[in-house]
């Protein structure tokens, strides 16, 4: 269970890291180091550098990303010998489920907004470059693509809406199951 859990979390962190152009292997390494830290004290960026041989600047960017995702937090501490201020990082293991659940809910809200937008608008698209415009935008451009000048065609695809409805209903069910599991703990 836990092995599969850490792999799933790693896939998530890798995906987000690559979206912000961080090395996803390095991000996964940092995550694993934080996961394996068992004494509850946390690891400082210096200790992480020693453990992984990743540059400190990059380690800090990765830690900042984990912080923004609310997966990790830090505490201010002192270096045991020099007394200099150090930040010790650890994963928020007790809140991680709620963080991920609220993320899923945000995704659901996004998809619902998108579906509403698709249902309430008429779209036109450029057959050459595929760019998409609402009726109002297309009207303003005289139904010509503002980039290449080709005549815009009506986009009457209903598949996007079908996909959205399917994904939304699955996500709703999944969130309901998650909430049930969390309530039982």
């Amino acid at each position: 269970m836990s092995q599969a859990d850490s792999e799933l979390l790693e896939r998530f962190v890798r995906a987000v890291a690559s979206m912000v152009r961080l090395d996803s292997d390095h991000a996964a390494t940092i995550l694993r180091k934080l996961l394996s830290e068992k004494n509850g004290k946390g690891l400082s960026d210096e200790e992480l550098e020693e453990l992984t041989n990743i540059r400190q600047g990059e380690i800090r960017r990765i830690l900042r990303l984990l912080y923004e995702l609310r997966l990790a937090s830090y505490r201010r501490g002192k270096h045991p010998e020099t007394g200099a201020t150090r930040y010790y990082w650890k994963l928020n293991l007790h809140t991680i489920n709620n963080v991920l659940l609220s993320r899923k809910k945000s995704v659901l809200r996004n998809l619902e907004l998108k579906l509403e937008y698709e249902e309430n608008n008429q779209f036109y698209y450029c057959p050459l470059d595929g760019s998409r415009y609402t009726f109002d935008e297309a009207y303003e451009y005289d139904f010509q693509c503002p980039k290449c000048g080709s005549i815009l065609e009506e986009d009457d695809r209903s598949e996007i809406k079908e996909v959205l409805r399917l994904v939304i209903s699955r996500l709703r069910e999944s969130i309901a199951r998650d909430e049930e599991r969390l309530a039982r703990q």
Binding site: L35, I96, N97, L100, R103, K114, I160, E162, V163
Partner: protein
Amino acid sequence: MPKVSMEELEKTALEMIRNSGSTGILQSDLWRRLGLDSREGSRLVLRLAKKGLIRREQVVVNGRRTYRLRYTRPPSLELKLKVDIEDVLDIPCFTCPFLGQCGPGNFNDPRTCPILQAWLERKARELLGDDGKA
């Protein structure tokens, strides 16, 4: 009662509560065994509860309201996912670093997001066959 430090007292109290197992212990019994009055006793119990070491459950004993105290296990250092993320990892919003700032009218807007649109078009082709324009 001999003077003992707060920490020492908390430790002894916690030990007693832990030994009481799943039935727990009434807080008045705990105070009596520790030789504390209700003022000191309730403060001690509240401190332990605040640290998340014990749970308090209100009960009525002999017509008086009191609390039954039970030990809670310290938070685990193991990762246990109770939220299923396997099926949402595929949706670009879930792994988007801008999810928190994304909303109607914002710079990142789910209604016009090109990444979401591209994913939906790909998904539509996968799920419903390639009979649309695309």
